[in-house]
Subunit: 352 residues, 2 copies
């Protein structure tokens, strides 16, 4: 009989690292859902492009890709003089960091790698430094795998046999190095043998729920149903939703949560219909320096994401568009935060 | 100085009838928003196809197109013997009615035309019957124009200078023979010189808000901003929405209202943020035989409307989809019904 671990191993992966030969692969997410292409990354320019073009996306996954990307850019340089090797490492890290300048996890992971470089003794060899960087990249990846799994185990306790579980956007395996954040509880519950119905909001404008979440859950075998975003409320009215779990981009000290646009509408509908609404995120997503949602600046993006879908024009080319990427959900609408340290219940006080 | 009537005359029209020569034209809505093509309808097969292919859509507009379509199919037959003319009229009416069998307004308009045929005296000529049918088709059209205008005048009293007014889907000029239902108050207020901001929800899956509403408001000159559906709640949070007006497909005796999917989510968010939420509809949309929303059957449509957008695949081809075309908004969430008879306030009792 297949073990739980074997079942979980079948979840699609954004990032693969082969320890034999230090080979680094990504799943090209721009080709989903129509093509499943795993692309080896062999040089630093390619990794830059993969991050820039969103072939790899999701904050944790980008950080891990940055670390492995730096590593493989040094793989063939271990015979260099030590100082040349160090200079190359710094140059490549800076280059990779510019692929998505606002991605906090990317600079965080690259800084972890550079800390190794900075602390490396002058008498060490390039090969020795490479081995330390290799261990650090793997540690960054493994730590994310462990965090996702813990979020999954804690969150799975909320999922009942025969229930309906809804999510938005993609806080899934393909956004992380592991089994995801918001989707991790679904994967663990399913691997534990629980059967339930998952509902994936398509998540306009960029359709991550349609393109990625419904693909990865469907690929794994979870019973997932795709809906347009405005169906979520009606599904709750029909009594088909028992639990909502979404991810987070940033959590303020009082629990107010910035996440993909549409999150706060889901939470308001959930309150109206009495459906518990949870945020799943690593503890590192909590930003005590933001006191409340009022301190979080919401990114506005261009009109073309709304007016064109896969190159097809769906609205007047010159119409005004308001296209905020995120919204902020009031902490009073959130039943709990599912983290690697357990489920945190209100009242929230993340200041300390 | 341009008069209010002159301003209102510039609103795009779904249907045009030239009394000189009895020529019937439609705006081909399938080509919007990229092309503005007015197509003369010259025979009954063409009118059938125009209705079937949704070149003309929206319940009132389809009814009017059916009436004019029947009329022009008889235009060159007035020299026929009277009985042959009557037989042709019945045959063409039956054929046109089959273009969208579930469209109540289409059969209603064609039945009004056939009532003229049935009551026509045996001694009358084909030309005399044609003239009566012509008057009836024009009356159906003019009555809709008058209804829309009255809805607009009543609803415009709710729109304040400098306010924000939101709508969903297209209950606009292009859905009617006149200036629309939900959009009529915006057109009248704008023609009266009030300046405000209109917000159009794109309305997935079929994007009527993006393709049609934002096009017609923008074309007329109303300051309209397009949003994806899940931005509506965030706009309310930002305090930018003072009023929401949407159309209706059917209103039950207690005021529960079936309308495009997404309507009830808007209404729930409106309640949360204290934004007044109105339905604009002709009195004929009220169905006293439905006691409440529980009596209204919601049409479910196929998965392809969600999985493909203009032929582009955005989700796994074989993923499950739940695609209800409508939802039902609880009467307690509705601040009023804007009708040709005035604004009806709660408590609602349409049973009598």
């Amino acid at each position: 009989m297949e073990t739980k671990e074997a079942r979980l191993a079948a979840i699609p992966k954004a990032i693969l690292f082969e320890e034999e030969g230090d080979r680094f692969y990504i799943l090209d997410q721009t080709r989903l859902p129509t093509e499943e292409v795993i692309e080896e990354q062999t040089n630093v320019e390619q990794v830059y492009d993969s991050i820039y073009q969103l072939k790899v996306r999701g904050a944790p996954a980008i950080g891990i890709a940055g670390a492995y990307g730096l590593l493989i850019s040094l793989r063939d340089a271990v015979s260099m003089p030590r100082d040349d090797f160090v200079a190359l490492a710094r140059k490549n890290a800076e280059y990779l960091n510019s692929s998505r300048p606002t991605a906090v996890n990317l600079s965080w992971a690259l800084n972890r790698m550079l800390t190794i470089v900075d602390a490396f003794p002058a008498e060490g060899s390039a090969q020795e430094l490479y081995d330390l960087l290799r261990a650090e990249a793997i540690a960054i990846h493994q730590s994310d795998i462990a965090t996702c799994r813990l979020i999954g185990e804690h969150g799975a306790t909320l999922i009942d046999e025969g229930s309906g579980v809804m999510t938005l956007c993609n806080a899934g395996a393909l956004a992380t190095g592991g089994i995801g954040t918001a989707l991790a509880p679904m994967y663990v519950a399913w691997a534990d043998g629980k059967r339930f119905k998952a509902y994936s909001n398509e998540t306009r404008p960029l359709l991550q729920g349609a393109r990625i979440t419904s693909w990865e859950l469907h690929h794994f075998g979870v019973d997932v149903t795709l809906i347009v975003d405005s169906v979520a409320s009606y599904l709750m009215k029909l009594g088909k939703v028992d639990l909502i779990i979404v991810g987070a981009d940033r959590v303020a000290a009082n629990g107010d949560t910035a996440n993909k646009i549409g999150t706060s509408s889901l939470a308001i509908n959930a309150k109206h219909y009495g459906v518990p609404f949870y945020i799943a995120c690593p503890y590192s997503t909590i930003d005590p320096s933001s006191k409340s949602g009022a301190d979080i600046v919401v990114e506005e993006r261009g009109p073309e994401e709304v007016i064109y879908i896969k190159g097809q024009q769906i609205a007047p080319a010159d119409v005004k568009v308001f296209n905020p990427a995120f919204d902020v959900t009031d902490h009073e609408l959130i039943a709990g935060f599912i983290t690697e340290k357990g489920i945190i219940r209100p009242p929230y006080d993340f200041a300390n």
